[in-house]
Symmetry: D2
Subunit: 308 residues, 4 copies
């Protein structure tokens, strides 16, 4: 028997960092996962733990680093951690650090009664304007990153992204001219609802100091391309979204998208003497279409282990 | 053996209603549940279905009503449905209709790149300003209502509410002076994080024509009271939130709140030579405190079956 | 403003109790929730915590009681806790303790390769026969109880139950002769799949010392009645299940059932030149029928606060 | 911009197949996902769907194949489907078909009151003995497979597995001798609870006609190795489990395991004057350790695209 690829670490470390700027507080709310690999044959074969830093110590490190270094952008925090584990432990050759960030708005100081969450945060999680220490969870998407640092090659890779960005076009979507076989009963349509929950990850060409602005640009490009594309298929929309992100974000070289096609079926109301010109839909859960694809810049460097 | 209280119906009917206002579309995205009760002894005792309108017909009714009447406010839609079932079926004496509404923002027509979801919707689900047919799911809370209509008494009750409104104060919360017994090890604190995920339901005095504005006022009052209360206990905050809602919403007479105390524990960093003046927290999942309570207006009428 | 009904406590305390019987271990794996009520006006109105035992102390009590008293049956454990809180704290007039129990089988000592989980546990969570300290989670259902103890009346109530018991009859179910209205398109059927996920709670007449055997009898009666009833409607099946439990369990006086009708639709395969005599089904998630009802013994005593 | 790797298909097709063997019915309850790839540049770049078989047709195919061919073992069903899509559509070069199977026991014909689910099924989903048409969902694990078929190379790969197999050793687990750094506070232990929820996938050397028996052997080997290994670390247990599966299943050549370390912390009861010799534990949710690793047979052939 041979031991194959392996890694270990602590998952789902829920760390919340409050920064007190006089009376104005800032919040970063994260879920961190660490996975280390290297000289780990002995622990698998004999249970010798000499090369194994406990996952409990990894957890402690995340909390201590949040105190010492703060969490400016999740990519920076992940890079600090990944380098630390590789550089301080000879048995660890590579570290993978993944972070999810949950976003918060400020509750307006004066009056929350507009119901509109004024004072909404940008991609940095909190906003400089406004006052106070009261927050409300915002948005439905989660900002993500996955960072690798490899000791022998001294190479780091950074992938950022998001999950849970749910979008819908109520028109401007068609589907026809498709292949048909003996099991095809679907009828072509010139007008349908197109809805999806975007899961996207994009690879940075290199480390840089604008991860927050980069996230805002990429998110905005995804929304703009989804809204602005007259769609003949969800694949076309996926490709348009990927291209738009790379066009607007020169710091990125590749993007991967996973788009479930959340079907909205037009309900047949004829039995009740009613027409239904794309006004009433049944939103189905399962099954759903699933469209996955990648777009790369023409000069994208080799990804290495970035996507592992 | 005796047959006790019973009801039946269709649950989780996912209906999406698009309204086309020239080039500007509006969306209402709902989950509807129907429960009917009445002369149902025979079906239980012998399987005689003569009194039973199929749950499939109830589902059809929801879709047909969405086409015929639109969905202006979920409370109005629920009232229409509840009255319909009771009035059209002699065997049905009472109907309960519950609706959850999922909220959407418009994707800005010009440029989505600000990352800030400009054009956010108010409590009516969509905003008159802005253009287009592209939407992004907004907020984390779900707007809810539960409506009852009783045939014999011709009485309707309306309870509105929300779930999933997650809020946090990073200071301004204390907990001390509590009872202690032989199992008490908790130490009093003068400064802690207070976080909760609000589940609230409020009872209307009567039907009215301002359910949308009422929701916005109540939501705003919850946020304002949470943010504005210097808290000595989560119970105090709960009561302040309930009072604020009733004070600002004369159309309401009762509110019930369920507030999980989402503990944020200050991490002990002393072993690593670091202080931690409420800057780094571990956000725990379980167990959690759970605080439940109601506030009533002095002149609240009898609730009847409103909370069933 | 008036403070209405309220309670507070610690929810989702995950306690695992291992009992070492020489080389044979026994496991009880529970989730405990405590809710206390009484003289709690001050904490709501002014934040005065003098009457408030911290939820942290409640959690400690659960762990300490698991050590001191063990967890024989979850109902007994809940009763011990409920009485303790009421009897030791003057401000607490009533305690509600809810327990969920997760069930485990033993992994057979000799050989796990039969794939069949021999050595399965009965209702007591573990089995006396067999050896060892290795377990595998079994079944999909969760055993539950909710206990109340009221100080002023010195009355205790015990409700036991289960959730997540998923059952299916592949024939022996009909649905026809139902009421029809203008929105009815469903066609009657003489043979359909009937599937549901049973949520049931049953009320004991009094405390007794056979909660484990009672649970096994009630669970068995539910299964036997579901399997043994030729069904003309899910309501009929519900009533049969309730009656069977009460008939076989004289210690019980009331049962409440909630049965989602998990629709299995016969797929139309005619377009592909295939018949489908109830052989291939699409298992739908939403919407679903929801049938709720109670059955009581003729001489059932008043429930009091048992169902709160 | 370049289009990178892509695929599309229908996910989460919930198909239930009933086979009527005179009065004895058999059930296969599956969730099927299809993903196709090939000449798909046009649909991405221009929205030309000529190469795209609708995901709706894929869904229809799954239901029609369930009728025509039955579902003997999920691997066989997946292979039939994968070959069909590649062989019948020139634009499709490769198909990936993933199946999850949910397991059912028979409800005993005579009497369900033993609470023990006699008549439990083996790996084939149902048991030949016993009678009737009544079933109860069994076990907590889900049986899985992922099959690929590649047209140009005419090569198929088969990976089987399971998720959700939750196991626990209440003793026989140690953890000491580990690496320590400045963030290490964990103390070594000679006796701890070891609990995990096994996610495992194993690769077959080739297609064969014993997938059902193979699954039972692999599942049994996982349980036997978990129970039979005195563990010095979860990595050691992982490797032992992997080796045991490959030793007992000559038809397999590789296994990949993902084992979350579900921490059970011994509760400190000293403040209450109680000892706690590994009797009372707090079962934590998050964070958790996560141990991932692969074991390969010495002569394992190249995996190709099996794990994609």
């Amino acid at each position: 028997m041979l031991l194959g690829p392996n890694r270990y670490g602590k998952a789902e470390i829920r760390v919340v960092r409050i920064t007190r700027d006089a009376d104005v507080h800032h919040i970063k709310d994260c879920d961190v996962g660490v996975a280390l690999s290297g000289d780990m044959a002995a622990v698998h074969l004999t249970g010798d733990n000499a090369a194994v830093l406990p996952t409990d110590s990894q957890k402690n490190t995340v909390f201590a680093f949040a105190r010492k270094h703060g969490i400016a952008e999740i990519e920076e925090f992940a890079l600090l951690l990944a380098r630390h584990f590789v550089d301080s432990l000879p048995s660890v050759h590579r570290a993978r650090v993944a972070v999810e960030e949950y976003l918060w708005d400020r509750i307006p100081a004066g009056d929350g009664a507009d119901g509109a969450g004024a004072g909404r945060t940008g991609a940095d999680g909190t906003r400089a304007s406004g006052t106070g220490h009261s927050f409300v969870r915002s948005g439905r998407e989660t900002r993500t990153c996955v960072v690798h640092y490899d000791g022998p090659s001294e190479r780091a890779t950074v992938v950022s992204g998001l999950t849970g960005l749910t979008v819908l076009n109520s028109t401007g979507s068609e589907f026809h001219g498709f292949a048909e076989d003996e099991y095809t009963t679907l009828r072509p349509t010139r007008d349908r609802v197109l809805a999806t929950e975007v899961r996207a990850s994009w690879r940075h060409r290199a480390e840089h100091d604008g991860f927050g602005a980069s996230y805002a640009r990429a998110r905005g490009a995804l929304l703009a391309a989804f809204a602005g594309t007259h769609s003949l298929s969800l694949q076309q929309t996926l490709y348009a979204m990927g291209c738009r992100v790379l066009e607007e974000c020169g710091e990125l070289c590749e993007i991967r998208l996973s788009l479930p096609n959340r079907h909205h079926f037009t309900v047949d109301l004829e039995p009740f003497g009613l027409d239904n010109a794309n006004e009433v839909f049944f939103a189905a859960d399962r099954p759903y279409g699933l469209i996955e694809g990648a777009v790369l810049a023409d000069d994208a460097p080799d990804a290495g282990f970035a996507w592992e």
